[in-house]
Amino acid sequence: MSIDLRTGSPPARVPFYNDPKVRSIAYQVALCAVIVFLVYGAASNAIDNLKKANIASGFGFWNQTAGFDISQSMIAYSNLSTYGRAFWVGLCNTLLVAAIGIIFATILGFIIGIARLSKNWLVNKAASGYVETIRNIPLLLQLLFWYNAVLKALPDFRDSLSIPGGAFLNNRGLFLPEPIPQTGFSFAVMAFCAGIVVSTGYHIWARKRQEKTGQQAPVFLVSLGLIVGVPLIVFLAAGLPLGFDYPRAGKFNMAGGIEILPEFAALLFGLSIYTAAFIAEVVRAGIRAVSHGQTEAAYSLGLRAQPTLRLVVVPQAMRVIIPPLTSQYLNLTKNSTLAVAIGYPDLVQIFTGTVLNQTGQAVEVVAITMAVYLTISLATSLLMNFYNSRIALVER
């Protein structure tokens, strides 16, 4: 506020509607009101029209009987279950393929990414070829390739390829012997758990001692012995308490054992291989981002190549890798909806497919599905952001 110098009197009072503060608040309130009005208008218009068109609305369908079968379910499901149950089956199937896909894609992606930096000409070119080919072909085509060209071309179940160990492979899927624990098996499980606890303690003790005295301990070998060796000895001592339910040919299908559907396998292969190509580039970029001076500094301190990579290069590269890696994980999860094309019963196929068609309640079903994918994606990025903040460079 300024004072009129000529008269020396205080300025005339600014009317409230010219006060910038009042104005900005008024605009905000007006905008909010418009948004609320628009949302309300859209919602009530939709409800009106649905009622006028005699289309059922509401969430009453959730507890109605679904009446259809699903080829793969991790939780108990039959055609007498409800639509709500079918939703959970679809969600579990989506999460299963996404989780396993993320693990496979990460392992494969890191291998390819490191191979692209290899000094070996053949390894280097093979990795570049992989990345350039796979990431430039649409994922849908790759899924159709795996399903129609590779897996459907396997022999009929009457001439299954038999794999040593009692497994069978045919165009109906991969059939593995199902392990059945018998009395005494729990001892081996207990030894395994104890092994993890003890080796964690040993790891902490070894690190403290190294910080204090500089002496290193053979942590890897001791952990291996505790986690793998001891339970194995207990298992042998208990007289191999593990039976197998082997798959065998029935009249129409293989019976018994664990069944891995070709639809699942095709989706898993497609997603993992496709996403791995992107992860490889992320990994390569991350490692390249660590300046060569860091490696040289580590060498001049006397570190050998392997500890240099593990203690100096990778921790710094991870900071660059994690954020784009997160978005690759999100992509993989969302891309799993392409399952529709090859008949894998994921959330979209079951819920926005059959359930939507039978109930006709597009608004509710699509809203639920969108909310689910949003939740999965936000949870994934929350987890990755937490990990990222853990490994971020600690500034002093």
Binding site: V34, L38, G41, A42, N45, D48, N49, L50, K52, A53, N54, I55, A56, G67, F68, D69, I70, S71, N79, L80, N148, K152, A153, D156, N171, R172, G250, K251, F252, N253, A255, P262, E263, V340, A341, I342, G343, P345, Q349, G353, T354, L356, N357, Q358, T359, G360, A362
Partner: protein, 336 residues
């Protein structure tokens, strides 16, 4: 600027009230009928090599176009999958859904549809390989069955196996094409759909002679055209387009003799062909609505014969689809 956008958004939202109320007027103004059809089922809805659509359901849409617009070629066919068909009708993308759709109570009451009659009485069956040496659907316990998603077929299948205490492995696909392809490649032991569909799909298999259709018919599948609920006038138009074809067959009027028949003294024929009374106007159509249908599309018997019956590669027996006067179920109320 923001204000303008909001106003436009509002206008769009409140202006976009249900378009269902005046379908007849909309179609007349547009000058073309949008028909939701099966894009890949021989005998019911399939474009040929020249892009010309043919089939029993296609003929129904052509009949509606002939009645409303006077020209059976003024139809835009929209191929729909089983899963998406109802949404397309509800949202107004198509005016009539003639896509071998089974009339059930929940579709009639929950989906905002009205079924305008039955143009094919069908039932669900199974197809298997001859090499399996299966002679009855009751021997299919433990079998893998390929099925299309979003169909009554999918539900009947589950019911049938449960009722007969048989185990079942279903493999569900979004389209009939994929389901048949999977069956053909050996992914499944059996393929199931409406019996008419089985005969049509069998012709497309790599080696049709290796497959048989099992004798059991496990369900009632009255297939018919559907329209949006709440537009009675349009509902009447579609219903009577079908009835006109049935009445024409019953009265012996064909696409060939419809001109002579106009001179007939039979009052039933005169009423149908519009030379007596104003039954066309009552429907909101022209006087010669039925003449256009019969001249351009033919009667029900001609359409059946040409698309699925003896005159087609499918060679399906008329069976239940004979006229009531010949021992079948097809029966149309009189025009009067």
């Amino acid at each position: 600027m923001k204000r303008i956008v909001s106003v436009i958004a509002l206008a769009v939202m409140f202006g976009a009230t249900s378009a269902s109320a005046q379908t007849l007027k909309t179609v007349k103004d547009r000058g073309i009928l949008n028909c939701g059809s099966n894009g890949s089922l021989a005998g019911f809805g399939l474009p040929d090599a020249q892009g010309k659509w043919a089939g029993l359901d296609v003929d129904l849409c052509r009949a509606v176009a002939a009645a409303v617009l006077g020209d059976d070629k003024k139809v835009k066919f929209v191929p729909l999958s089983a899963k998406d068909r109802f949404t397309a009708l509800q949202s107004g993308e198509v005016d009539v859904l003639a896509r071998n759709t089974t009339w059930t109570s929940s579709r009639d009451t929950q989906l905002g549809l009205n079924f305008a009659g039955v143009n094919y009485y069908d039932g669900q069956g199974f197809m298997v390989r001859k090499a399996l040496k299966v002679n009855s659907a009751l021997e299919l316990g433990e079998a893998s069955v390929c099925v299309q998603q979003g169909t009554t077929t999918e539900l009947n299948l589950a019911d049938y196996f449960r009722a007969n205490k048989m185990k079942l492995k279903t493999v569900t696909f979004a389209t009939a094409n994929e389901a048949v392809k999977a069956y053909d490649s050996g992914r499944c032991d059996a393929y199931t759909t409406d019996a008419s569909g089985l005969y049509a799909e069998r012709l497309r298999l790599a080696n049709a002679a290796d497959h048989i259709v099992l004798p059991e018919i496990i369900s009632k599948e009255p297939l018919g055209p559907a329209v949006r609920h709440g537009d009675d006038q349009w509902f009447d138009v579609v219903k009577w387009s079908l009835y006109a074809m049935l009445n024409a067959e019953e009265l012996g009027i064909t696409s060939a003799n419809v001109g002579e028949m106009a001179k007939s003294d039979n009052p039933d024929i005169k009423r149908l062909l519009g030379s007596e009374g104003n039954y066309g106007e009552q429907l909101g159509l022209a006087k010669d609505w039925a003449v256009n249908i019969i001249k351009q599309v033919g009667n029900y018997g001609e359409s059946f014969d040409r698309n699925v019956g003896a005159g087609s590669p499918l060679k399906i027996d008329r069976g239940l689809n004979k006229l009531w006067s010949k021992g079948g179920l097809q029966y149309a109320p009189p025009v009067r």
